[in-house]
Amino acid sequence: MSTNISASHFSSHDGNGPLLELAGVRASYGPIEVLHGVDLVVPQGSVVALLGPNGAGKSTILKVCSGLLQPTAGEVRVAGRVINGATADQLARLGLCTIPEGKGVFPNLTVRENLWMATMAGVSLSDVEEIAYARFPRLGERRKQLAGTMSGGEQQMLSMARALSVNPALLLLDELSMGLAPLVVANLYEIVAQVSEEGVSILVSEQFARTVLGIAHYAAIVLHGNVTRVGTPAELEDELSAAYLGS
């Protein structure tokens, strides 16, 4: 497994080139190809939303970026470097943070132990705890509770807390809003917007376009394993309704 990543941090990349770039990426689960040549660019410091119906391949794109799934063709570049072949844990320690869909916590660890795991990306536990409890006071009250016994929404907060505290260069978020109360969703996206203002580049997948379009700089429509259209939210207004109704 060869990788041309040096130990340096992604964020050391300077200039305004794209932080994440996918070129002709194909990927499959076993024999079934799910991505058929995806091209996508996430400019430094911007929020890009992946939109599309059930099963379009949004989560798969994120998996490829995070290193959990190796592309069968094409290149994934982070800060200009090809990262094909790098494993998820290497990427995580280099400043990429992924919040997977639905199951972002270790159910048999306590809240605090879950946060402890986040420190493997190279931050200190006290920092992580401070940020997490400040953003989500609920977590602070429940440090010793097993994550698996928390409500669906509380678990989502816990997994989000990692994204906020490890100080990543690139953040990948999958279905952030699922199962969350409207107020929490609004808050979370506010936070996402803030984080991006601090210079973090963010790629976020959402089934419900409405929630994310308010803060996204660009949106990419994913259909049948291809990115069919990229543009600013305003440009995409029409396509969006077509994509959902027509699929």
């Binding site: 079934i32 058929h36 844990d89 995580a92 997977p100 270790f106 132990e113 420190t119 259909l223």
Partner: protein, 758 residues
């Protein structure tokens, strides 16, 4: 008083060693979700290896210890994880259990192979610093070995707890079980952590093995040593496989009880020694009763990797008929001795069928199927025979009674564990199995009960006659083989019928989500109980017939290791299928025996190279274990592959007719004494093993030539945007000519390549 202190100290020490063994179990369970049955076997191997280095080859103790504990044991654990356990992710509990049982049996076979148990000079295993390194505390003499053991136990307890709670790596090890992918996303290395924790688990097992061997003063027997550490299961269960402090308490109580029984039970009680040996299992049972109920909460049961498709009733009838016809044809050309072997295999298959019912359909586990056979046998012996001497026969009433009693005993065994998860029921049955072996089957002498003399298992051997039902006498080998074959066929059809019935679906539903079942109005405990009783009854029936086949049975026939082997081989065959049970029975009852017999005979014939054959015999005994170990790769069992192959053959008519014709031909030749039985066996093997793949390859080529298409690729794009519709499948089938190849359409859903070979 002096005596009390003495025994208390000894009990504490034994408890400490139990704890070390139990902590190894807890470590591997918390970090990989696998309850490691091979823990005891690793301890045993370590003890033997240490003996070899220390006394066999006379190495100094520190070096021997360093090599065993510092190098070999951790390496073994790491290799075990990398080669075997890693593949178990996403499999069901029974597969996990069976694989670690396979490892255990493999190590056992290995140890008896390397360290011949019948060696002339006994192996002498001494305490550290020798038996005379003694200090006096409170006027009691204690060896340094014992002090070291207890101190180590305390240290390990503190150490592991510290690791798992206070260090990030320890917490990360616990996180691996929950979600290795998420750990990777966090920046952790799950593979490395799991390997390390298995190395640690093996180290603890090895340490326990080396410490415990001289303490119990038992001679070095591989079986006994393995079981000794299995005693630690009770302690681990007391901590629910999680809590180390509770495990410690459990272990200490276990150790103390052990010595207090020795000290204070009247020596006139003849069963004291048997009782002492069963204490851990009795305690395990009590623990299961007092553990609070598992909450029926959503345990996001992910879909496990095992896949069993359901044969139709028609297939079941045809298969059953084929089985009976084949057996009948074989009978006509067979000599009595292989016929006996075959009948033995069929009775084992019947017992295996009880496992298919319980595990394949309901997802529960019984580790002591043969112990129910033992209960049935005892019942028949006492209440189910008529006549005496050569005229003795088993009665129908005896058979029915034996099955009923087994069902009731099954209920008693299972009831306490039914409220709990599957693993607990599995362990309850194992406790029961050990209890039966140690306390029931050892009852060779009369006891006075209610003023009457009664012997449960007189003389250690029971003579069990064959049955006579109504006017039909099944005493001859032929008649008996027919009986068991027909019975098996009927039970197998019944099993398929159950799978197709509402009862079968309810079992499947219960297996998948007890919580959902309860909220639909199902009494989960009652359903579980019913299927366990049914299964125990079948096991009892099979056991009774097995005893009748053997004629005289001793306690070894019902050994817990045999039960474990049978379960393992059934899972290897395919725990979801009656045919899996058939394979298991025949393999364990016939093939193994046939192989060893053949090799022994060859060895006798060619005395000059006898050593080679002796080696091969040993290798054969390791065989089942090695197969069991590979289960992780193909958890659905061999039958799944065989069925696929059969389908191929069925579609390729000419091939099928060739095979059947050839087989009938050699049968005729054998029946007319042109061929010997041996030639028949060899030719059959060739016919069944070599012809299908060869012929299949030829047929496949022809099919493509006929369809006149190059294997197309675009098919793979379908199913990405939308699911396969039946239309797509039809189209694909017609294009690819799958019809002719017999590749079943659903295969595409299972992620098999849609590419066809060029």
């Amino acid at each position: 008083m002096q005596q009390f202190v003495q025994y208390t100290i000894l009990g504490l020490v034994l408890g400490g060693v139990y704890f070390i063994a139990a902590s190894g179990l807890v470590v591997t369970y918390t970090t990989s979700g696998i309850f490691n049955f091979s823990q005891g076997a690793i301890a045993m191997l370590a003890a033997f290896t240490y003996w070899q280095l220390r006394w066999g080859w006379g190495w100094p103790a520190p070096i021997a210890l360093l090599v065993v504990l510092g190098v070999l044991a951790p390496a073994l654990g790491a290799v075990l994880y990398q080669v075997v356990m890693k593949n178990l992710r996403g499999t069901s509990e029974v597969t996990k259990i069976v694989v670690s049982v396979g490892v255990m049996l493999g190590f056992l076979a290995l140890a008896t192979w390397v360290w011949n148990p019948t060696a002339s000079s006994p192996r002498n295993f001494q305490k550290f610093f020798g038996a005379n390194a003694i200090v006096e505390i409170f006027g009691v003499r204690i060896t340094w070995h014992e002090i070291i053991s207890f101190v180590l136990a305390l240290g390990i307890a503190a150490g592991i707890r510290f690791l798992f709670v206070r260090t990030r790596s320890g917490v990360a090890m616990r996180a691996v079980v929950d979600d290795p992918e998420l750990l990777e996303l966090n920046g952790g290395r799950p593979e490395r952590l799991a390997t390390i924790s298995w190395a640690g688990g093996a180290f603890l097992a090895a340490l326990a093995g080396i410490l415990i061997t001289p303490i119990t003063g038992s001679s070095m027997s591989a079986n006994a040593l393995t079981l000794l550490v299995i005693d630690a299961f009770a302690a681990a269960m007391f901590g629910r496989l999680k809590s180390l402090p509770r495990t410690f308490v459990g272990a200490i109580v276990l150790g103390l009880t052990n010595y207090y029984v020795v000290a204070y039970f009247p020596s006139s009680w003849t069963w004291t020694s048997a009782f002492r040996q069963s204490i851990p299992m009795i305690m395990l049972f009590i623990i299961l009763i007092i553990l609070p109920q598992d909450r029926l909460r959503g345990t996001t049961v992910l879909r496990t990797r095992e896949r069993f498709h359901m044969p139709t009733m028609r297939t079941a009838w045809i298969a059953a008929l084929v089985l009976v016809v084949v057996m009948f044809s074989l009978q006509t050309i067979m000599q009595p001795s292989p016929m006996k072997t075959l009948a033995y295999g069929m009775t084992l298959a019947m017992i295996a069928l009880s496992l298919v019912l319980l595990t394949g359909l309901a997802g529960e586990i019984n580790l002591a199927a043969l112990s129910f056979g033992a209960i049935g046998t005892i019942v028949v012996f006492h209440f189910g025979t008529t006549g005496s001497g050569l005229d003795a026969r088993m009665t129908l009433w005896g058979i029915v009674l034996a099955s009923l009693v087994c069902a009731v005993v099954g209920a008693v065994v299972a009831l306490p564990a039914l409220r709990l998860r599957g693993l607990y029921l599995a362990l309850a049955t194992m406790a029961f199995g050990v209890f039966v072996s140690k306390m029931v089957l050892s009852e060779g002498n009369p006891r006075r009960l209610f003023g009457r003399d009664f012997t449960i298992f007189p003389g250690g051997t029971l003579r069990i006659p064959r049955p006579k039902i109504g006017p039909v006498d099944f005493n001859s080998d032929k008649a008996f083989l027919t009986l068991v074959t027909v019975l098996f066929a009927l039970l197998a059809i019944g099993l398929v019928a159950i799978r197709h019935s509402g009862y079968g679906r309810r079992l499947a539903a219960m297996k998948d989500s007890p919580a959902a079942c309860a909220t639909l109005g199902m009494s989960v405990v009652r359903l579980k109980l019913s299927v366990f009783m049914l299964s125990a009854a079948v096991a009892g029936l099979g056991g009774v017939l097995m005893s009748a086949q053997l004629g005289a049975v001793s306690a070894e026939r019902f050994d817990i290791f045999l039960s474990l082997s049978l379960l393992m081989v059934t899972v290897v065959g395919g725990i979801g299928y009656a045919s899996g049970a058939l394979l298991a029975g025949l393999f364990l009852g016939c093939s193994l025996l046939a192989m060893t017999n053949t090799l022994t005979k060859l060895g006798a014939d060619y005395a000059s190279i006898q050593a080679i054959f002796a080696f091969m015999i040993s290798a054969v005994t390791v065989l089942p274990a090695t197969i069991g170990i590979t289960m992780g790769k193909n958890p659905s069992g061999a039958v799944t592959d065989i069925v696929k192959g059969l389908n191929d053959i069925k579609q390729a008519r000419p091939l099928m007719f060739t095979i059947i014709g050839f087989e009938v031909g050699i049968w005729l030749l054998t029946a007319t004494d042109v061929l010997t039985n041996w030639n028949f066996v060899i030719l059959t093997a060739i016919n069944l093993l070599v012809v299908p793949p060869l012929g299949g390859a030829i047929m496949k080529k022809r099919a493509y030539a006929k369809a006149g298409v190059a294997p197309p690729t675009p098919a793979e794009f379908i199913g990405i945007d939308r699911a396969y519709t039946q239309l797509d499948l039809d189209e694909m089938e017609s294009v690819l000519g799958f019809d002719a190849l017999g590749v079943a359409a659903p295969v595409l859903h299972e992620g098999e390549p849609a590419h066809a070979p060029a």
